[in-house]
């Protein structure tokens, strides 16, 4: 493995972990409102997969998408400012944690209704295919979303029209508090793909290298015009569904078992063992990340509030009563 990529993986996973920790603290202090869904435990999925795509590709994600946005290039400051609801946030303070956007990077959200990402991604894919583009779309979704009609409807259309969409399932085993064996008759999400003639595979979502390699092959498949592909990354979230959820439905044993397979620790050990990284690399990365996250919090706290209530509802101001100038 390239040293540069290894450093990137370590940096991004460390950023993901520390950023989310800081977000939790800021939420507890009352600086972040609404719902806040955090990513610790799942870092290897976003980091491993997004680094297998090209910068010109599109990304569509769920409401648990802070890390996807940052790995895709949105600055931690712009993400934190959005969580704070500030004008400098990546959605200007109008979206919040669940609605992060950066059009310049083709990062298209941020969807808070489970299952919406499928059709958005397929729509982008349709447009790319219509224009014979070589760009592709990465579409993230959770295990719970596989029970929405849009999942099956979209897989059907994506396969039918060979749309360049890579579906990436972040199977963290829980739809809020309902464990996958209680919500899905077919708990192997990747097996759904075959019902629509789509290739799919399962990968250990705690292993960033495995996720990366699987995604690289899948990206190649999709970009070559073979139609969609589905990767199921089996992972785990350490925290509850959102800050409002203490996660009491899981046993301490289960949590301890999964924490023993921590994606960041696994990668660190492996990278040190293989000589991809040395201790100094790791310490430097951790130090830089701590500074970046602290700066993100400072930037967010000092940023102005948005003031224009009506901005962006329409492309131009609209008087509902047809006022004539």
């Amino acid at each position: 493995m390239q040293r540069k990529l290894a450093r990137q993986f370590f940096y991004d996973m460390t950023l993901a972990r520390q950023f989310e920790q800081a977000a939790a603290e800021q939420y507890m202090q009352g600086n972040i409102g609404g719902f806040l869904h955090l990513y610790p435990g799942e870092e290897a999925v976003a980091v491993g997969s997004l680094h297998a795509a090209e910068p010109g590709d599109y990304v569509v994600s769920t409401y648990r998408e802070h890390v996807h946005a940052m790995v895709w290039g949105v600055s931690p400051s712009a993400v934190m400012a959005e969580l704070f609801g500030r004008a400098t946030g990546c959605s200007g303070g109008y979206g919040g944690s669940m609605h992060l956007y950066d059009v310049s990077r083709r990062f298209l959200g941020g969807y808070a209704i489970v299952g919406e990402t499928f059709a958005i991604a397929a729509g982008v894919g349709y447009w790319l295919r219509l224009n014979d583009s070589t760009q592709i779309v990465l579409c993230y979704f959770g295990d719970g979303a596989a029970n929405q009609g849009t999942f099956h409807e979209t897989l059907n259309m994506a396969a039918l029209w060979k749309l360049p969409v890579l579906f990436i399932c972040e199977n963290n085993h829980y739809q809020i508090g309902t464990e996958i064996h209680r919500h899905s008759a077919v708990p192997d999400i990747y097996r759904h793909a075959s019902a629509y003639g789509i290739d799919g595979r399962h990968v250990d979502g705690m292993d960033v290298v495995a996720v990366h390699e699987a995604t690289r092959a899948a990206v190649q498949h999709v970009r070559s015009g073979n139609g969609p592909y589905l990767i199921e990354c089996e992972t785990y979230r350490y925290r509850g569904h959102s800050m409002a959820d203490p996660g009491a439905y899981r046993s301490a044993l289960e949590l301890a078992e999964l924490r023993a397979r921590d994606p960041l620790e696994i990668f660190r050990e492996r990278a040190l063992g293989q000589g991809w990284l040395n201790e100094t690399d790791c310490q430097e990365a951790e130090k830089t990340v701590a500074e970046v996250v602290a700066e993100a919090v400072r930037f967010a706290a000092e940023s102005p509030q948005p003031t224009d209530l009506g901005k962006g509802v329409y492309s131009e101001p609209l008087d509902l009563y047809g006022g004539r100038p």
Binding site: H99, D102, I120, G123, V124, L160, G322
Partner: protein, 345 residues
């Protein structure tokens, strides 16, 4: 539904401009011209391609533009409307046809939670130049699940615009305007109007997309209507005129926004207004108009704005009951006479 032959249509050709056209042909020409002009315009929907559209609106376009620009979709309303939203985000100008508005209930997440909100939620970064066309209204004994009007739902959504063309000319104008606009726009069509005829000039300059139109001038009472209710109001006006009551008929053309200045101008003259709507009365567009006119035009009004609307029932199958469930010409005449009685002293 019945399909009528029309000489303006070739076997695989698109409708051609003529002095008089039917609504579906005007829509067809609007689509054809928009697609010719702008390669980012494409159509998605059930049976829009090879079959030519359930009401013939997309006839000939599949042969002319191919399957990628006239896409037959599976029966997956929420997802194909969502695909329209996604394609619009990426730079396309999709025109999505939902076969009837009744099926739009399955797509309300894509319409209301996504199309209408994405620009705002992204701080104005995203653009959703999406047109959703769909027919609604009470047709001919289609039963409760195929006879809905959802104006009341759609007009209450920030981020959407809703137009309701009733004539071939307006159908052409408003669909053309909707396609070039940068916001999600709902073009509500009416199932019984597709095969009605009217004057058509594709080169005439259009009024603003939301502008209402005075279809008949009168001094005594203003009737505000849209879609099929306009023609009933016109019939009522013609009959009332023989009895010396002159009714002004306004075709609203747009339900969000509404052309309040024109309504005010009209009631300042007639001092009485009745809204005639095919949708149910409770919490509807008529309520919005009556309340707003009451707020802003009360000095001009000699009586409260009245509403004639559909009965509060799911649409029955039986033809007589179905007819009785929505306003008819007789009801309009009666309502106007009641009002006129108030000021014939």
């Amino acid at each position: 539904m019945t399909r009528q032959r029309n000489d303006n249509v070739g076997i695989i050709g698109t409708a051609r401009p003529a002095p008089e056209l039917e609504v579906w042909q005007a829509l067809n020409i609007a689509l054809d011209r928009a697609m010719e002009r702008d390669s980012s315009v494409f159509i998605l929907g059930e049976d829009v391609g090879l079959f030519g559209g359930s009401y013939r609106v997309t006839q000939g376009l599949y042969a002319k533009y191919g399957e990628w620009r006239v896409r037959d979709t599976p029966i997956s309303e929420n997802s194909f409307v969502g695909i329209g939203v996604g394609a619009a985000l990426a730079g396309g100008r999709p025109v999505v046809e939902i076969m009837t508005i009744n099926f739009a209930l399955l797509a309300l997440d894509s319409i209301i939670n996504m199309a209408a909100k994405l620009r705002y939620m992204s701080g104005g970064q995203l653009q959703v130049p999406l047109v959703i066309r769909m027919p609604g209204g009470v047709a001919k004994q289609l039963g409760a699940q195929h006879s809905q009007r959802l104006e009341h739902t759609l007009v209450n959504v920030p981020g959407l615009r809703v137009v309701v063309p009733a004539t071939p000319q307006d159908s052409y104008w408003q669909l053309s305007q909707a396609i070039v606009a940068d916001d999600p726009i709902i073009v509500l069509e009416h199932e019984l109007l597709y095969f009605t005829k009217g004057p058509f000039d594709p080169d005439a300059p259009p009024p603003a997309m939301h502008a209402a139109a005075v279809r008949r001038e009168g001094r005594d009472v203003t009737l505000v209507a849209w879609h099929r209710m306009v023609s009933l109001a016109m019939e009522a006006a013609a009959q009332l005129s023989t009895r010396g009551i002159e009714v002004e008929v306004i075709d609203l053309r747009s339900l969000r926004p509404i052309d309040l200045p024109l309504l005010r101008e009209s009631v300042s003259k007639t001092r009485h207004a009745i809204v005639v709507e095919e949708d149910c009365r409770f919490g509807g567009v008529g309520a919005e108009i009556a309340a707003t006119l009451g707020e802003v035009a009360h000095p001009d009004l000699a009586s409260p704005v009245r509403r004639l609307a559909a009965s509060d029932v799911p649409t029955p199958y039986n033809a007589e009951l179905e007819r009785a469930s929505i306003p008819g010409t007789k009801n309009i005449i009666q309502a106007v006479e009641e009002l006129a009685g108030l000021h014939t002293d």
